[in-house]
């Protein structure tokens, strides 16, 4: 399975603050201490990142009753898949992880200093988000060069593709054990700072829209900009 080696991740202190569920502008205005901690966490945390992207591109054989059957027999299924990937000729399945060194460290730190622990945790979230955005952009650009359009990234956990259905489907395609990412029997990925998604490629895809538009928490989530590829 191919591994995409990414260049340096492009994210800064604002992303780390957003990764903690905070609005950077407001924090900068009232709390230099939190900005300092985010800076320190970014500096320390960056050295612990092990960014890896695993991907696999497969042709679509057919779409049957909301089930997309891929070359080799693996399937992706559900209303969201049918809606966005229905017109696709090819599908790229993607898994991004930043490894577990940072989260282990953040966990230890949190026992003593939860404020800094939260900042380190924010670095992990921001990093894997940045990695996923970079990976999606890379594959989208590639698709455009080949004359294709790309769907928005679709992730298990979005409305219409439950985690318990989508994660096993992606794991069957990618076999991420080779990059030391496990899916627990509860459907949780280890390392925690990992993300999965699929992109549909075809001559005429439904483009536009944001991942957050398809999230059950879109009304209340304070991490939205953080999840929004257009702001990242």
């Amino acid at each position: 399975m191919p591994i995409w080696k990414s260049q340096d991740l492009d994210f800064g202190v604002d992303a780390v603050l957003r990764g903690q569920g905070a609005e950077p502008g407001a924090i900068r205005e009232r709390s230099p201490r939190l900005v300092d901690l985010a800076e320190r966490a970014l500096e320390e945390g960056t050295s612990l990142l092990e960014p890896t992207t695993l991907f696999r591109e497969l042709d679509v054989e057919t779409l049957r009753h909301e089930r997309l059957i891929l070359d080799g027999g693996s399937t992706l299924s559900g209303t969201l898949i049918a809606e966005h990937l229905g017109p696709a000729d090819r599908v790229i399945s993607i898994l991004c992880t930043v490894g577990d060194a940072l989260e282990d460290h953040a966990g230890e730190v949190s026992q003593e200093n939860i404020v800094y622990g939260l900042a380190l945790d924010g670095v992990g979230s921001a990093a894997v988000e940045a990695l996923a955005n970079a990976a999606c952009k890379h594959f989208e650009d590639q698709a455009v060069e080949l004359g294709f359009q790309s769907s928005i990234p679709i992730s298990p956990g979005m409305v219409g593709w439950p985690v318990e259905k989508g994660q096993p489907e992606i794991f069957e395609i990618l076999e991420p054990e080779q990059v030391n990412v496990q899916l627990t029997e509860y459907g949780l990925m280890k390392p925690r700072k990992s993300l999965t998604m699929v992109l549909g490629l075809g001559p005429t895809m439904k483009t536009g829209g944001r991942t957050c538009d398809f999230c059950a928490m879109r009304e209340t989530c304070r991490y939205q900009d953080h999840y929004d590829p257009h702001h990242a």
Partner: protein, 218 residues
């Protein structure tokens, strides 16, 4: 006059999230032999309440809340040492056992709830993550808490919350404790469905719910 200033300073330090300032003010309280309970009740507590209010209404964010809770904890430590030294009494608010359910490894949300609860004066036992139903049962027997709080980030692990509640019933322990649940994918309707006593969408609302369940004021 100095007394009022110090109490105002304690409150301000918590709101601004400056532990050194809070600790220095608490040390002055002790030095001046002021009533540590009064300093706690009129300084620290209104401070964290105001921050909680700001967080609940969306003006403040999680790191603000956590920083203020830590600031409060640091100053409270100083005051509590004095409270136990002088033998004065602070009202006991209650004991909470917290943990993240089996299969789930998310630590930070639960730890934040623990931090905020203890800053509000609760005695908190944090069991950690990946806690099996049997471990919860054992903790209820051992610690005799007023409340158990369970966290689950993903819907796939949320069913564990219901399993623990059933186990409590099976073991005739359900009437002995209140159960409060929370975490990313848990909703109030899900909490109702599994017959939890309360739900907290975030740490602040969790603390309020815990206080409500135990009829604790403020």
């Amino acid at each position: 006059m100095i007394e009022n200033d110090l109490i105002a300073e304690l409150k301000e330090a918590v709101i601004q999230g400056i532990p050194e300032k809070a600790v220095a003010a608490a040390e002055r309280v002790v030095e001046l032999q002021m009533d540590p309970v009064e300093a706690f009740e009129s300084g620290l507590k209104p401070g964290i309440s105001e921050v909680g209010e700001g967080f609940a209404s969306g003006k403040l964010y999680l790191p603000d809340l956590v920083l203020s809770a830590e600031t409060m904890k640091a100053a409270a430590k100083v005051l509590e040492a004095e409270i136990s030294r002088t033998g004065t009494k602070r009202s006991e608010v209650g004991k909470v056992v917290l943990g993240t359910v089996q299969g789930d490894l998310h630590d930070i949300g639960k730890t934040i709830v623990a931090t905020l609860l203890s800053s509000h004066g609760f005695d908190v036992i944090d069991l950690g993550v990946n806690i099996s139903p049997d471990q919860y049962i054992e903790a209820v027997r051992r610690e005799k808490p007023d409340v158990i709080g369970m966290s689950s980030l993903l819907t796939v692990t949320a069913k564990e919350l219901g399993i623990v509640i059933s186990k409590l019933k099976e073991q005739d322990l359900r009437e002995d404790v209140k159960v409060i649940v929370g975490g990313g994918a848990v909703t109030s309707s899900y909490a109702e469905e599994i017959e939890a006593d309360g739900y907290g969408q975030n740490a602040e609302l969790g603390v309020r719910m815990t206080k409500f369940l135990l009829s604790v004021e403020g």
